[in-house]
């Protein structure tokens, strides 16, 4: 059968997908070729693998376990600020890791607020470094995500069922058995798998709160093999292991996950007739209050500690900030150049392979790509001179799966709704892209660009691998200040980074919707 006519060509998207696949698989191949020359696994490598799995399991279990209680409380209570709190649950996604860590240190660190209270009562201060610190930071990032995923499950229980259960006089136990337990059985495995997969490739958290032989993740071990020992063979071997691990986890997560937690209507309250007792109300209130404090206090701490430091920022910090903005903008441009043609091809229904290329970004780890790129670039050019473009490129590829999730549904809608009309008007190719596709994608492009820019702005991954002492992005500069125990300056720079990250997201997202027609 002849192919149906389409207003846009599939070629650019196929090319973009090919590029992404070549980047991810090519760097993997480069790494694999190098890995053969390694000596095999040493004791510290096994320790890194063990720690990676342990911390990911612990983080996933804690995040999801706590999220169940929080989601339940959020699903059945109405209170002032409820929608604001639920919106806040989306914020950690674009929050720079290093900023959150500074906030967590200010609250839970040795000299933090909690420790000061403990010492006031003559108790020992908290010890944040190590496994529990890594888990704490991971829960901070993933409790909100898990809560959104599980809340989605709760919202998807039809209101009629709650009405029916109330009509039948179901008590809390019966309600649990009839409605809640089956839903959780469906949703929780997916949430666990997603959080587990995310925590597997944790780098920045382990870099700052872990470290040492007992608290090193694989990603961190890759970095150390690379940076301290310049042992490319070992870095490659660890990269291969990391890739197998994240690939498996991403595969499992995609298979068992039900939703993405980005669904609309999460701030709807399900009308329920149970949980009216004082005890239930009190418990729900406690959950919500503790969770809000846990999420808000570190942010408040960053702002409080940063304000004084903000006025005394050194030129090097401003330089790093400028570098970060430029890297983020370049990364956003690359992201859109890759994602838009790919979204168009996916929307044409041409090829599931294109989507696979996007998902590869989920399984790939930035440090593995970085290592591979280094191996590829090393013989022909100075990799350190290319630190910034490489960072922008890797950031774009890492943001690609999220951008595709945002862009594809709208691209589908446009082609479905206006494809035939455009073709009948001979409005195809370039004219279609400029006159129809891009104008109608504006809001989604803005949102995706905002996410991409914010993620790149806050990224502390490849740049740590590649940068020489002369070059730094803002997150790296903050990390260096922390390493030099200049916490005041670090706090000021962290506040600047927080403002910049949220700022670029807001500007792009807002710009996309500005004067947009229905």
């Amino acid at each position: 059968m002849a192919r149906r006519a389409q207003p846009v060509s599939a070629l650019p998207g196929a090319g973009a997908a090919l590029l992404v696949a070549a980047l991810i698989l090519g760097t993997l191949a480069a790494v694999a070729l190098r890995a053969e020359s390694a000596r095999g696994f040493g004791a510290s490598d096994w320790a890194a693998l063990r720690f990676t799995l342990t911390q990911a399991l612990l983080s996933a279990g804690l995040s999801v376990g706590l999220a169940i209680g929080l989601a339940r409380a959020l699903a059945r209570r109405r209170f002032v600020g409820r929608s604001a709190l639920i919106a806040l649950l989306g914020a950690p996604f674009i929050l720079p890791v290093i900023v959150a860590i500074l906030g967590l240190l200010a609250v839970f660190g040795r000299a933090g607020w909690v420790s000061q209270i403990l010492m006031f009562f003559g108790l020992e201060p908290l010890q944040i470094y190590g496994l529990h610190g890594v888990a704490l930071a991971h829960v901070f990032f993933n409790l909100p995500l898990a809560t959104r995923l599980i809340l989605q499950g709760w919202q998807e229980i039809p209101a009629e069922r709650f009405r029916l259960a109330a009509q039948l006089g179901a008590g809390p136990r019966a309600m649990w058995q009839l409605l809640e337990a089956p839903m959780l059985k469906r949703v929780v495995p997916g949430a666990l798998a997603v959080v587990f997969a995310i925590c597997l490739s944790s780098f920045a958290v382990a870099l700052t709160l872990g470290g040492g032989p007992r608290a090193t993740t694989l990603e961190l071990a890759i970095y150390q093999a690379f940076r301290f020992d310049f042992d490319l063979g070992r870095a490659a071997l660890l990269s291969g292991l990391q890739l197998v691990l994240t690939g498996l986890a991403a595969f499992v997560a995609l298979r068992v996950s039900a939703g993405d937690g980005a669904g609309a209507g999460l701030d709807r309250v399900v009308r329920r007739w149970d949980g009216g007792t004082a005890l239930a109300r009190g418990l729900d209130g406690l959950w919500i209050t503790l969770a809000a404090l846990f999420l808000l206090l570190p942010l408040a701490a960053v702002v409080a500690a940063g304000i004084s430091g903000l006025l005394e920022l050194k030129a090097s910090v401003w330089m790093a900030a400028l570098t970060s903005v430029l890297v983020a903008l370049l990364s956003t441009v690359i992201l859109l150049l890759l994602a838009l043609p790919m979204a168009a091809v996916v929307a044409l229904g041409r090829s599931a392979l294109i989507e696979v290329a996007g998902i590869l970004g989920l399984a790939a780890s930035p440090l593995v790509i970085g290592t591979g790129l280094f191996i590829v670039i090393y013989p022909i050019a100075d990799p350190f001179a290319l630190a910034l473009p490489v960072t922008a490129l890797v950031n774009a590829v890492m943001a690609l799966p999220f951008a595709l999730r945002i862009l594809v549904p709208q691209a589908r809608e446009i082609l479905g709704r206006y494809g035939k009309l455009s073709m009948s008007l001979d409005l195809t190719g370039r004219a279609f892209v400029l006159r129809v596709f891009l104008p109608r994608m504006r809001a989604q492009i803005g949102f995706a660009a905002g996410l991409g820019a914010a993620l790149s702005m806050g990224d502390l991954g490849v740049i740590a691998l590649f940068a020489d002492p002369e070059v730094a992005t803002l997150p790296l500069q903050i990390y260096r200040l922390m390493g030099a125990y200049r916490m005041e300056a670090a706090a000021g720079a962290a506040l600047l980074l927080l403002v910049l990250s949220m700022g670029v997201f807001w500007i792009f997202d807002r710009g996309g919707r500005w004067h947009a027609e229905a």
Partner: protein
């Protein structure tokens, strides 16, 4: 002459056959039960659906491999005939140039076309600020500017009330008379057919029948049509 020679049009598992001729300048209604393949027939002429066999010719030229936008065909769809982000003038102007790079003379022609359909003073508005009837008029102004030999209508006025729909059909008839276009109009309402069509193509049970005179056919329907009309 629009000629469908021994055509089989595939649309998934479903297919429609057609072997018929339509005289230039005539106005036809395409009627039949829903799901019989009316839209399939129209979309094949417009070039959206591939032919499994046969060919479609206009004035002796084979259209089979011609892209939809290059055919001598203008088409109005059931809905979504306007781009919401473009102004009324831009939506109409697409009929002249798809890239909207219009010369001053062309802009003047757009304005005239809008005046012809009674929208001369709404050129700068966006479609959302128009009524349903006004939106249909913009699409018709564009059809006028396209000045194609064949006009295909896939029930574009179905969402309008009866009076407004009649008004639009009359406007279509007027415009077609001015440009001499051949009109094929999908409809499930025999009254529409009586209103503007001199001939009817009956599509039933996977087959498009050759055109027959409207009054004759509707007054004395064959069994397939009788089942549909009830």
């Amino acid at each position: 002459m629009l000629k469908l020679e021994d055509c089989r049009i595939g649309n998934g598992a479903f297919s429609v056959t057609a072997d018929l001729q339509i005289a230039p300048g005539s106005k036809l209604a395409v009627i039949g039960p829903s799901g019989a393949g009316k839209t399939t027939l129209i979309e094949a002429i417009a070039g959206f659906l591939p032919l499994r066999q046969g060919r479609i010719l206009w004035q002796g030229q084979d259209l089979s491999d011609v892209a939809p936008g290059k055919r001598p065909v203008a088409m109005l769809f059931q809905d979504g005939n306007l781009f919401p982000h473009l102004t009324v003038a831009q939506n109409a102007g697409l009929g002249l140039r798809a890239n909207l790079r219009l010369t001053a003379a062309e802009k003047l022609r757009v304005q005239h076309a809008l005046e012809r359909v009674g929208l001369g003073d709404l050129a700068a508005r966006k479609p959302a600020a128009l009524s349903g009837g006004q939106q249909s008029r913009v699409a018709l102004a564009r059809v006028l500017l396209q000045a194609r030999d064949i006009l295909l209508l896939d029930e574009p006025f179905a969402a309008l009330g009866p009076a407004l729909k009649a008004e639009m059909l009359d406007l279509v008839a007027e415009l077609a008379a001015e440009t001499g276009a051949t009109v094929l109009m999908v409809s499930h309402d025999p009254q529409d057919a009586r209103r503007i069509a001199d001939q009817v193509v009956l599509v039933a049970e996977g087959k498009a029948h050759p055109p027959m005179a409207t009054a004759e056919l509707l007054d004395n329907p064959p069994p397939a049509l009788r089942d549909y009309l009830g």
